[in-house]
């Protein structure tokens, strides 16, 4: 099995960071596992973490009255789950659940925020990277909202 450091270094999100920055980030990381159906976090709870999925699929769910939980997105290997740790009020907007058995790296958001406060260059790097994650999500959400398969033919 690859070490935690190797997983972090190989992740596209952290590509291009210096060894020192990677070590700082690695200091806030740990390996975690979830069984199929297990919750990673719950909508409304305090968001003090994010996850880099290594294996399996994580669903983001919202509870819709009269319909029950609906999945708005799934996140797979190599992708990041969670940006709520980055901006106040540090609260999860969705519930995260393991669709199948999931292995991930969990990052402690409070720990990372402290390191970013101490080291604004690292803070800037991380913000830029999470902005990219957010832009990707936003584009995908826009496409989903357009409901392109709805009335279009072909």
């Amino acid at each position: 099995m690859r070490t935690l450091d190797a997983v972090i270094t190989d992740s596209p999100v952290f590509e291009g960071l210096t060894q020192e920055q990677l070590e700082l980030i690695g200091g806030c990381a740990s390996n975690v596992g979830f069984e199929a159906g297990e919750r990673l976090f719950r909508e409304g709870d305090r968001a003090d973490a994010f996850f880099l999925v290594r294996h399996g699929l994580v669903s983001l769910e919202a509870y819709v009255p009269n319909r029950g939980p609906i999945t708005v997105e799934t996140i797979g290997p190599g992708e990041i789950v969670g940006w709520s740790w980055l901006v106040p009020p540090y609260m999860w907007h969705f519930t995260g659940r393991a669709v199948d058995d999931v292995r991930a790296v969990q990052f402690d958001g409070a720990c990372l925020r402290r390191k970013c406060d101490d080291d604004p260059v690292l803070g800037y790097e991380l913000l830029t990277r999470f902005a990219l994650v957010l832009v990707d999500r936003l584009q995908a959400t826009r496409l989903q909202l357009m409901d392109v398969y709805g009335d279009n033919v072909g």
Partner: protein, 270 residues
């Protein structure tokens, strides 16, 4: 060109408003249709519509067409029962250039009712599996209930030599697959962009975003093909209804190389 009479031999419901018809010639058959090509299907007393072949090319003279109830003609066709007669003109248009993918990885990207026009090409590639590198199918639909050809997709998914990923825009708790747009599957799909060919069909906006994601992965524009299924009328290059820039889709298409079609896709209200 007068339509030839075909009889509805079999009919299968794919989703709430999508049906597949298998047609057999009453007497004379049209020329062998190739994946990517379409026919003009005529519902007597209602009108005709261009519909792509969704059949396995090995089926010979039997035609397979899959269509969504969009308006009068397609509703009429979807209401046809086994034994009913429909008219067929064609085959029209060009085919998927499957041979350009020989020796390379093949990536199929289908959105919604875009899978049927690709289905014949998937069959073709799998019938000559050894002639290709990795074979990847990425298929996105609106919801689990609106995925077409589910049994094919499940069969392909169970093969060890095909990578299939399916995603839907929204799903309830009972769906255990991907949720999100089909373009999200592209960054982690297992193919070598420098040595691959991609065939993409779906709503135009989905094709644009899929093309952007494939090119971002490193796929050269010349290795990317799409099928344009905008409205057309005569099917034989006479009426000009399906003109897009310098090209008539019914005559020169519907399959185009991405770099030839891209400038016209981004022009509003064409």
């Amino acid at each position: 060109m007068a339509p030839l009479p075909y009889v509805v031999a079999r009919k299968r419901r794919e989703t709430r408003d999508v049906w597949t018809l298998e047609l057999e010639p009453v007497d004379e058959a049209i020329e062998q249709i190739r994946p990517g090509q379409f026919t003009m299907l005529y519902r007597f007393g209602v009108g005709e519509a261009p519909i792509s072949s969704s059949g396995d090319p090995e089926l010979g003279f039997r035609l397979v067409h899959t269509m969504r109830e969009a308006g009068q003609v397609t509703r009429g066709l979807c209401a046809a029962k086994p034994g009913d007669l429909v008219g067929v003109r064609g085959p029209f248009g060009n085919a998927w250039p499957v041979d350009t993918a020989r020796g390379k990885d093949v990536v199929f990207v289908a959105g919604g009712i875009g899978l049927p026009p690709l289905r014949g090409a998937v069959y073709d590639v799998l019938a000559h599996r050894n002639g290709f590198g990795r074979v990847v199918l990425l298929y996105g639909g609106r919801s689990p209930g609106e995925l077409v050809f589910r049994s094919d997709v499940e069969r392909w998914r169970s093969r060890l030599d095909v990578d299939v990923e399916v995603t839907v825009d929204t799903a309830g708790h009972d769906w255990r697959g991907n949720v999100g747009v089909v373009t999200k599957l592209i960054p982690r799909a297992p193919f070598d962009p420098a040595n691959a060919v991609a065939f993409v069909v779906g709503p135009e906006i989905m094709m644009r975003f899929a093309a952007a994601a494939l090119i971002e992965r490193g796929l050269p524009q010349e290795s990317l093909w799409i099928s344009m299924e905008r409205t057309m009328r005569c099917g034989v290059g006479l009426c000009g209804h399906c003109q897009l820039g310098p090209t008539l889709i019914c005559r020169d298409g519907p399959v185009y190389r991405w770099d030839e079609m891209r400038p016209w896709l981004e022009v509003a209200a064409l």
